[in-house]
Amino acid sequence: MPYHTFKCSECIPERAMHAVVKGPGEDLTSCLPLGYLNTIPGTISERGCAFCGAKHVIGAPMKDVIHLCHGPVGCTYDTWHTKRYISDNDNNQLKYAWATDVKEKNVVFGAEKLLKKTIIDTFKAQPHLKRMTIYQTCATALIGDDMDAVAREVMEELGDVDIFVCNAPGFGGPSQSGGHHKINIAWVDQKVGTKEPKIESDYVINYVGDYNIQGDAEIMCDYFHRMGIQVLSTFTGNSTFDELATMHRAHLNVLECARSAEYICNELRVRYGIPRLDIDGFGFDLLNESLMKVAMFFGLEEKAQKIIDEENARWRPELDWYARRLKGKRICLWPGGSKLWHWAHVIEEEMGVKVVSVYSKFGHQGDFEKGVARCSEGALAIDDPNELEALEAMEELKPDIILTGMRPGEVAKKIRIPYLNIHAYHNGPYKGYEGWVRLARDLYNAIYSPMYQLAAIDISKDEIPLERGFRSRRMISDVTLSPEEANVEGEHPYTGEYDNVTRLRTKVYPELEAQRAKHQEAAEEVLVPAK
């Protein structure tokens, strides 16, 4: 068995099977770490809790909803909507976080009255919002508050509001993934099927498992709309409460992040017969194929091919410019969940980098199966690493950059390794063709940052090269390229706009308009039957 033991964890024998190295000839029947198990006491795990997974990851991107935590204010502070899941309604969901602010006296005497009062006060404070999610936390779950009953009471009293109850307290699973699971199932149980959508196209999908980080979901919806496909809901980025209640009417569920949202796709398949199609929205080659698959389901191959041709022609030369300069760079791909497998292979293929390690703090073994299958030989796969293990891995593997979230990223910086935020993104969106180039651009900028070159010098002992002046990125990156390689005709750095998302919100889609007109006409014919 190819298990890897960290020196810093020799004293914790339970960690023995949580890291593997994919050696020559290894496959999934011999090389897979344990995953999604209860945190081992003493490892100082950095996982999020199940409440965080339910609220911060999946619930909070819903854009027209009051997100109210029923618990101590600390739980709310820990999930303060910091993940840049933007929306087209002026980012309502990023601006406000609500809490019942449960105190000791409520733990003793109960907090249901407090919950009811806070719900009503909150609706009064934001009278334009009529939808709310209330999230259970550890304390209020332990005292046994009946949130469902309170929600029903308020809905009856106020009449025009709809409340979703999410019972995923922090202890509801080994990690944030337990909360993903609970909120998926709660949503399909409580809300899916309670609203009916206006069907405006012959081609109707849900785009599932995308939280619109810096506009990711809007980029993908642009491709779908260009084909004339109606996206009933995006689960959950940039979607409204009511859109998500109509998921049962889609013809196809297009699933991006299976880790956080496969549950709802599985349930929709079993309960409503909607097929589940797993796709990759990252990487040119995989995205070409993914768009074509969605199109073929509806017989829209020509429309998809047009998009694929246009996008590849526009962005390929820019990707190639970066790939030439990123070739051979060693990266640690340490995301939360799905990028582990979405990127593991295609980033090597298309950007020329080498993935030397993959990790996830909350991934299941199924995620590691995908990640280990897709990464190349020699990669170190780690489940739920703590800070010391991550430091040891960085010291051993000597990566050129770490792709991870903010907390481990800041640790990497301290040992002079640049990091790219792939949770909330640096300069995303990273999805789509242009997004993939933006990722390559951010990787290039970080790896060749002149500041990092200077920071690597230890002024207490290293010699300072006084004879040469400031060196720009280009001077550093092109040093190993021949003049021909450095100046390939047509290849150049990124030329897109700073903001490539906002303009999509007012874009007109002729194919979708034609579908709308057709459905409108059909609806009018039903209202006024022809004589």
Binding site: I185, A258, N266, G366, A373
Partner: protein, 116 residues
């Protein structure tokens, strides 16, 4: 089965592992269904047969099966040189191998959890 056939199966299994996601649904019963349906469609297409597209579910399997067969033909020219009998043996062996990697030989302890 001869050694070259085994090698070819290994190459195609490796292609699936690096490129596809359909074989990694979360439970054993899903994986059995996915593997049988999608590899079944790919086999039919390689043998020149018409897959059944009469329901949305079957159509969805066809999307993955179609791209798999297309990828095999584009990337591995030897697939285009094989007879129908050889292709049938190849695809049956591939199904067995993918089932082993993702179900029967899998180290994933969650495959048999009763609910999603």
């Amino acid at each position: 089965m001869d050694e070259t056939m085994k090698e070819k199966i290994e190459i195609l299994a490796d292609y699936i592992m690096h490129r596809c996601l359909w074989q990694f649904h979360s439970r054993a019963w899903d994986r059995e269904r996915q593997n049988a349906q999608i590899l079944g469609v790919a086999k039919q297409l390689l043998l020149g047969e018409e897959p059944d597209l009469s329901t949305p579910e079957l159509k969805c399997y066809w999307l993955d099966g179609f791209h798999l067969a297309k990828g095999f033909r584009q990337r591995f020219d030897w697939v285009n040189q094989m007879s129908k009998e050889e292709l049938a043996t190849l695809m049956d062996g591939l199904k067995e191998r993918v089932d082993y990697l993702t179900i029967h030989g899998s180290l994933n302890k969650e495959l048999t959890v009763a609910a999603y």
